[in-house]
């Protein structure tokens, strides 16, 4: 090994992996260690997030730190835990084995992590135990005999308070010290433990705990008191729905200014380019393809950030496990896991972050069911379509004195989305994936005040992931849709809008007979093709096919009233509740499932439902004289 007393010499780098129970503050410690020098990607071949950061130790050694998914055991049960196990064992494809492990433990909750430590010891890698949240342990009067504990588990211990960056330098020094001293990995004796061995390990953990830890003098009573309200069968559910209500209000009101500003910004850039470039293919490509396409997704960024802000805040506070507890039976009735709650909630803003958030669900079938129904939640891209059709066809009249009809229809569309998501999941679980859902076993962590810096960092990270992942998927799709809508161009002397002569127009005309039974005319059918890029694009495309320039919405409302019957308008609404009019969603589903099968299944089932719903609505409306 290189002599550590020569700091100027370039020391060989080393690899460190962070392991620990969920809720141990592992990610906060990772942030405290690596600061902003982090890279987020996926592990090769699996959709598990890989977070790596760099630290320069005082000796000059560069340490690259891997934040492994939290686990209670090396006996992996989910894709995340498989990554942790394989990384620790040094068997993960495409990863170098770690030189040193840092086991992160919540100092106030040592019992389960001690059993994990015993498993990690069997792996034989040099290890340092970080007793995190040590300030809380001290406040509770918990006495830990650090020397005794270190002797019993056979590895050095560092006390840390990740949110205050306390103990971080000491931790780095310990890790660096182990490497400098030439600590090497012994051969792994780890085997998957059976029930008897798990019991033995618990006994050993209990012995170590008894010998070295005196119970808290002032145990946390706050969590118990808060749970008395938040987990109460009635008060708890009422609080949950109140929180959801506030969250949705915030998603739509806080983000409105920023969203409008971005929308205007993209229109302005588009307008500027259109005015300054010679009219032709390049201008059309840039304004209608690139700017309009990317803009149509990025306008949702403010909403998504507000939504994620709430989710991260509630997650860090410790509430999300409680929400899953409260919703488990309601979701479970439809065959969904309690943890599907968050992804489905996110899908109200946009299905893309919702589908990405299904990674928290361990079981593959539970996760796939959630992915399949997520796009049925009314995402914000449907709102422009809904409001256009509602203002054209639903008379603004009061209902029962206090409500008004357009608002009621809007509510009905949201409710239909939720009910059909639950119904589809129910049918899927009954017909295709029989058998019970995964066991639901979840720690309810002690409540903690979220750390503003960590919230900000997580929010930045979520936003960045959305923009890069969504961006890389959406961009090529936008180009394809633009190509279909622009080629071939209109012949000289043509009177109809150019899109009519394009491939999209031809496909639309070709499909029109099939869509006649649901009341769609050819203009609507043509608008559906570019509308595949994103749902709200259909509004602009309807403007194009009816040759209304400049996005004059009122003119479009009047035109639709003249050209469509009420039955057609209602059928269009019904279509949009179910129709998979969002190519980006397919891109994300393909990415998250690693297969084209599931986007295919989604396309078929959603289109069938959309057709069926529109057919029923159109024919019923005609039968009652609205045709």
């Amino acid at each position: 090994m290189t002599d550590a007393s020569l700091p100027t010499a370039a020391l060989p780098g080393a690899r460190v992996a962070l392991v620990g129970n969920p809720n141990s503050g592992k990610t906060a410690l990772f942030n405290a260690l690596t600061g902003s020098r982090q890279k987020v990607a996926n592990y090769a071949g699996v959709t598990v997030e890989r977070k790596e950061g760099q630290i320069a130790a005082p000796s000059g050694r560069m340490l690259s730190v891997l934040d492994l998914p939290g686990t209670y055991s090396l006996r992996a049960r989910s894709p995340d835990e498989v990554v942790t196990r394989d990384a620790v064992l040094g068997k993960l494809a495409g990863e170098q084995p770690p030189d040193v492990l840092i086991c992160v433990a919540d100092a106030t909750n040592l019992r389960l992590v001690l059993r994990l430590i015993l498993e990690l010891k069997a792996v034989g890698r040099p290890m340092v135990l970080a007793l995190n949240m040590y300030d809380i342990a001290q406040r509770q009067g918990l006495r830990i005999d650090l020397d005794g504990l270190a002797r019993d588990i056979g590895c050095p211990i560092v006390t840390t308070v990740a949110t205050r960056k306390r103990g971080v330098d000491d931790l780095v020094a310990q890790v660096d010290g182990l490497i400098a001293a030439g600590a090497l990995s012994a051969d792994s004796t780890w085997r998957e433990p059976d029930a008897g061995q798990i019991r033995d390990a618990h006994r050993e953990a209990q012995r170590i705990l008894k010998a070295n830890v005196r119970p808290a003098e002032r145990p946390d009573t706050f969590t118990g008191k808060v749970d008395g309200v938040l987990l109460h069968p009635i008060a708890g559910l009422a609080t949950l729905f109140l929180l959801l209500f506030v969250m949705f209000q915030a998603v739509f009101t806080w983000s409105k200014g920023a969203g409008d500003l971005m929308g205007d910004g993209f229109s302005a850039v588009g307008g500027f380019l259109a005015a300054h470039l010679p009219p032709g293919l390049l201008a059309s490509f840039l304004t209608d393809g690139v700017i309009a396409g990317v803009g149509s997704v990025l306008v949702f960024l403010p909403q998504i950030l507000v939504l994620f802000f709430f989710i991260i805040l509630l997650e860090d506070f410790g509430y999300m496990a409680r929400a899953a507890f409260l919703m488990d039976r309601i979701m479970g009735g439809a065959g969904l896991h309690g943890r599907a709650f968050i992804p489905l909630l996110s899908s109200f803003a946009c299905a893309i972050p919702g589908i990405m958030a299904t990674r928290v669900i361990d079981n593959k079938r539970d996760r796939l069911t959630t992915i399949l129904v997520a796009p049925l939640m009314t995402c914000s891209a449907r709102i422009p379509v809904y409001t256009l059709i509602i203002s054209a066809f639903i008379p603004n009249r009061p209902v029962a004195g206090v409500l008004n009809l357009p608002g009621l229809v809007m509510f009905g569309l949201y409710a239909t989305g939720i009910v059909s998501a639950l119904a589809v999941s129910f049918v899927t679980r009954r017909l295709f994936w029989r058998g019970a859902v995964e066991p639901f076993l979840m720690e309810l962590p002690a409540y903690k005040l979220p750390d503003p810096l960590n919230v900000a960092r997580s929010l930045y990270l979520r936003g960045k992931i959305f923009v890069t992942r969504a961006g890389t998927i959406i961009f090529p799709i936008m180009i394809l849709v633009w190509f279909l809508s622009s080629f071939p161009g209109a012949p000289p002397g043509a009177t109809d809008p150019a899109i009519n002569y394009s491939l999209a127009g031809r496909i639309g005309h070709l499909l029109q007979p099939a869509l006649a039974p649901i009341g769609f005319n050819w203009q609507m059918t043509v608008a559906l093709i570019p509308g595949f890029a994103a749902r709200e694009v259909a509004v602009a495309t309807l403007g194009t096919v009816y040759a209304i320039g400049g996005g004059a919405r009122d003119a479009l409302v009047t035109t639709l009233q003249h050209h469509w019957s009420i039955a057609t308008g209602l059928a269009f609404l019904a279509w949009y509740v179910f129709a998979p009019q969002c190519a980006s969603t397919f891109g994300v589903v393909k990415r998250e499932t690693n297969s084209w099968l599931w986007p295919g299944v989604m396309l078929v089932y959603m289109t069938s439902l959309a057709y069926l719903a529109a057919f029923l609505v159109y024919q019923t409306a005609r039968a009652v004289g609205l045709g």
Binding site: Y72, S73, R75, R77, N109, R111, L112, R115, P193, D194, A195, I198, R199, H202, Q206, P215, P219, D220, T221, T223, G224, D227, L231, H232, P233, I234, G236, L237, A321, A324, F325, L326, D328, R329, I330, G332, G333, G338, N363, G435, A436, V437, E438, P439, F440, L441, M442, E443, L444, P445, A446
Partner: protein, 113 residues
């Protein structure tokens, strides 16, 4: 937390139960006791994983013989799932997955561990 003692009338009911061995899945909020057995036998094929695997997961979460359990809360629908204090942790689980955990109920006034 040591401040939530059962109400007197509940205590009278609980007194009859003291010393009885029950499945955790049948316990009510306020019930507490010591785990005496964690089995792998009930409703095989009804948990999404085999019962041996369910048993290992329960053990890993700390549902081991000798651990102290107290039922804290239950859900609004079919009183499911339940939230329990398990030694010094809080765990949520479904009643269906708790059937193989057997506990001996404490006497209501018994000192807490």
């Amino acid at each position: 937390m040591h401040d939530l003692l059962p109400e007197p009338d509940e205590a009278a009911f609980a007194a009859a139960d003291a010393g009885r061995t029950v499945r955790l899945s049948a316990a009510k909020p306020g019930d507490r006791g010591v785990i005496v057995d964690v089995r792998a036998e009930t409703h095989p094929g009804d948990h999404g994983v085999d019962v041996g695997e369910l048993q290992r997961r329960l053990l890993e979460f700390g549902f081991v013989e000798g651990a102290h359990v107290e039922v804290l809360h239950e859900g609004a629908i079919w009183r499911d799932p339940i939230a329990v204090r398990l030694d010094d942790m809080r765990i949520a689980l479904r009643r269906r997955d708790a059937e193989d955990v057997w506990l001996r109920l404490d006497a209501p006034g018994a000192p807490r561990p």
